[in-house]
């Protein structure tokens, strides 16, 4: 029940919160306008005691029902206030090609998390300063967790030899012959 955090955000930064809703498990979510996410993160950390950085990720909405497809990406943030024993769940909607302000300056843990999101979804973070790929390599083309990236889109650095008698798995390079 992260009611406290969202109430405080609404009271102190009323223009930042676009929407609030409750998920199936009864937990509260806040949708933050992208340009305000850094201010919200600073408020949560400095004034409201949400000092533990939990996680960040993104969702590609390409295959959701048509009315939910715009804008294309959601970036989700989870922070924790240990004293109040409360998680806060935040979400930023962002179009393809647009950039979310980085919260690396607020939470050092966001450094790798933002690199991960950039690597797998191609969502940029302005002001990050060191936005390299996290798990894949620099030569990798595309962003692997986008819904339009093929499931077997292998990109080996060293060409793989075809193995004809194995139907699926490594070596076929996505081509059946």
């Amino acid at each position: 029940m992260s009611i406290f955090a969202l109430d405080q955000i609404q009271a102190q930064l009323p223009e930042a919160l676009a929407e609030r809703y409750t998920d199936r498990a009864g937990e509260a979510w806040g949708v933050v306008r992208p340009e305000h996410i850094k201010a919200v993160a600073t408020l949560l950390k400095e004034r409201l005691g949400f000092r533990l950085f939990i996680s960040m990720d993104a969702v590609d909405r390409l295959h959701l029902p048509p009315e939910q497809q715009e804008p294309r990406f959601e970036v989700v943030y989870f922070l924790k206030n240990i004293e109040r024993n409360e998680h806060v769940r935040l979400k930023v909607l962002i179009a393809e090609g647009a950039e979310v302000p980085s919260i690396r300056a607020v939470f050092q843990g966001a450094n790798w998390a933002e690199r991960f999101v950039w690597d797998f979804y191609g969502v940029g973070f302005s002001g990050h300063g060191d936005l390299r790929r996290m798990l894949t390599y620099e030569e990798f083309k595309g962003h692997a967790l986008r819904k339009d990236y093929p499931l077997r889109g292998r990109q080996p650095l060293i060409p793989e030899k075809p193995i004809r008698d194995i139907f699926r798995g490594p070596g076929t390079n996505g081509v059946q012959d």
Binding site: L52, S55, L64, F78, Q108, L135
Partner: protein, 408 residues
């Protein structure tokens, strides 16, 4: 007395100041190195033996965990979760299942709750023993490693009897666990726990007051409480800094609210505290498993709802409802309603969180795992820069980075 011809043995000031030109050296530790478990490449810039800067590069074991999960049914995700933290597979299995059950609003039977606690705590024991043993091994104490691994092997045997697999357990199903405890297993487990307690005491006795060991671990790899929170440390690494945060206490799940246990905390945030916390947690886990064995009552281990769990085989072959339920579950998967959830459990290394998103198609639309090791490895830079190269090895051990969960 003071004549100019006498020899003065004191060197002049500029002679002392004459210094050699040194250059910083860049070395690679890994990706395949005996002291880095898993394949992580550390690019280290050294000034003598002092680390000037360090950049961990990960991803050599990247398997496309999330992409794979998005293309299989909710139940078929289970084998992929084994391979996240492969030292403590049951903690991942049950953590994932609990997140799915939270999304569905399913309450599992009480006996299944207890079995999940037992399984998760057995693997917490295994993980902590491995960490303590490997730490000793890499500091030159081979004996302690053997004691720890003997204890872990006994636990692995019990896990094998329970789940059918040594490491990749894939145990539990949405709605409970797929199998009750085998006959005679509780007696065996009780003996095993006594033996593990002895062996853990040996490890403790060999290391905790060992001068060489404490010299290498005390005051090395220090991280402050503020930095630890900022980087997103959880589990023993956060508690070693003095922050009392344990998901089992903060948001009790399964049967943890019915058990009596402590969450020990340190105060220095150094390698020794992280090691010693694990020794203390081994004792707590042993006590928890014993309490579970006393408290648990006979009863069902799966919910009785054929929309979610597979019907018994006699019903599949003997009734049309059974056939239909079986067919729909196997072909379409468990019907998880549209929605999203973030749920977390305490794995041996910290908060294991799951952000799951369902679009109602029977497959996860999004399956984000918050691996505790990922955030901790991000903080390794802060723990090592400006310190000695030799301190990197115990630090890397006590944060217990598991390649499987970090590189997904």
């Amino acid at each position: 007395m003071a004549s100019g011809d006498e020899y003065d043995p004191t060197p002049s000031e500029d002679e002392l100041e004459a210094h050699l030109q040194t250059r910083n050296m860049v070395i690679n530790l890994g990706p395949s190195h005996p002291a880095t478990h898993g394949t992580v490449r550390l690019r280290i810039e050294l000034d003598g033996e002092t680390i000037v800067s360090m950049d961990p590069e990960i991803g050599f074991l990247h398997r496309g965990f999330q992409k794979s999960c998005e293309n299989v049914t909710w139940t078929q995700v289970l084998p992929y979760t084994d391979r996240l933290d492969y030292v403590a597979a049951l903690a991942n299995n049950f953590g994932y299942l609990t997140a799915v059950e939270t999304l569905m609003g399913v309450q599992i039977p009480e006996r299944a709750d207890y079995i999940r606690v037992i399984g998760a705590e057995l693997h917490r024991l295994a993980s902590h023993l491995t960490t303590a043993g490997a730490l000793a091994l890499e500091l030159g104490g081979f004996t302690a490693f053997l004691y720890a691994l003997e204890a872990r092997d006994l636990l692995t045997d019990r896990v094998t009897e329970l789940t059918g697999a040594r490491l990749t357990t894939s145990f539990g199903r949405i709605g409970g666990v797929n199998r009750d405890l085998p006959p005679g297993w509780v007696e065996k487990l009780t003996k095993t726990l006594n033996k593990v307690e002895e062996l853990a005491a040996e490890v403790d006795a060999l290391l905790t007051r060992n001068r060489i060991f404490t010299d290498r671990t005390r005051g090395t790899g220090v991280i402050t409480k503020e930095d630890a929170l900022d980087f997103g440390f959880t589990g023993p690494c956060l508690r070693a800094c003095g922050v009392d945060y344990d998901v089992r206490k903060a948001k009790p799940y399964w049967a943890y609210s019915k058990l009596t246990f402590n969450t020990p905390t340190g105060n220095n945030g150094d390698n020794f505290d992280r090691y010693y916390l694990r020794v203390l947690e081994i004792k707590e886990s042993l006590s928890m498993v014993r309490q579970c064995l006393v408290q648990m009552q006979p009863g069902p281990v799966m919910i009785d709802d054929w929309r979610i769990t597979l019907p018994p085989k006699e019903d599949v072959y003997g009734s049309i409802e059974g056939v239909i339920a079986h067919f729909k579950l196997v072909m379409e998967g468990v019907p998880v309603p549209v929605g999203e959830v973030y749920h977390s459990t305490e794995s041996p290394n910290g908060e294991l969180g799951w952000y799951l998103r369902s679009d109602g198609t029977g497959r996860p639309y999004k399956c984000h795992v918050r691996a505790p090791g990922f955030q901790i490895l991000a903080g390794l830079k802060r723990m090592c820069e400006g310190r000695m190269l030799a301190d990197l090895i115990p630090t890397f051990d006590t944060i217990n980075m598991i390649g499987g969960e970090v590189e997904q």
